[in-house]
Symmetry: C2
Subunit: 153 residues, 2 copies
DNA sequence: CCTAGATTGATATACGGCATAACATAATTG
DNA sequence: CAATTATGTTATGCCGTATATCAATCTAGG
């Protein structure tokens, strides 16, 4: 057998974590798509909705910080959620520049419903993963995420 | 303590694998950026270069299939690598429509160099991960990737 | 052999995520 | 109060990806 073959046909790429994260993310993204199929909901707006629901009155910029979304890009996303009737935007009391965001009833219902669907499809994908493996995977990913705010270039 | 708080301020999002894969992917993407800083190399062209280097004479479409890149999007990417002098494109002997792609010496040197840099920066990011954890993470991600070609909608 | 269908690369086009620059308004600090 | 900073906003661009369409070529069936 070929002894100089890293693995499949990926070459050194196969040893890179970044590549596998991107591919696995795409596969699990498919589960999201199936979970919300028939709607126009996307991952990023869903994430924002979840953060707002978990933090009633949160400001637009803060929500963006939590998710790593820049202010400029939040504007259209928040507009989208407001127009969908999922969130409510009103002037913040302590800061006349900022908006206090809150989830509407409709938004909460949608969040609950889609969360269930997504979890169901993700569980489908991980059907033959042991509970220990699923837990370990989440732990490892969270540890990586925690490594974001290091030194810049 | 608040007992109805999932975790941070993420809400149900925090229980979703897809979210954590995207965030972790972004963090590790930062390691890639630092590894190639000063150049214009991107993750996708790098991946293509690696696959071509590992499979001399591979056809454009096949390389795309391996990486999940569609034919239409491969064209510009391959052009880019050719113009950079990293790969060589010549008519395939067995199919006059197709191109046989091969890595140039310059491409191989670049691949080796950048692979080393990326590995170094990724290792930096995973500095306090045990070898067992690193191995486990790669294993779990590869298992997820293997679940791509299931039923469609 | 020769036509019908499939395959390969290519072009055009569009959308979503993300980045930077610049601006107005409001808050904060010295 | 003046200078600086923070917030939301607009404009703009790049990258990754998706679809539709096309020409050239290959492949299979009649």
């Amino acid at each position: 057998m070929d002894a100089d073959k890293t693995e499949e046909g990926l070459g050194p790429l196969d040893s890179l974590l970044g590549y596998h994260l991107r591919r696995a993310g795409s596969v699990v993204g498919g589960a999201f798509s199936r979970a919300v199929s028939g709607t126009t909901l996307r991952q990023v707006p869903f994430a924002i909705l979840s953060v707002i629901a978990a933090n009633p009155g949160i400001k637009q910029g803060t929500a963006g910080q939590i998710l790593g979304i820049q202010r400029a890009n939040m504007v259209a996303l928040i507009n989208e959620l407001v127009e969908a009737g999922y969130i409510d935007r009103q002037a913040a009391q302590d800061d006349r520049r900022a908006f206090a965001l809150a989830c509407t009833t409709k938004g909460q219902v949608a969040l609950d419903h889609f969360t269930g669907e997504i979890l169901r499809h993700e569980a489908d994908l991980l059907a033959d993963f042991s509970p220990a493996d699923r837990k370990k995977l989440m732990q490892l990913l969270r540890r990586i995420e925690a490594r974001e705010p290091s030194e810049a270039d």
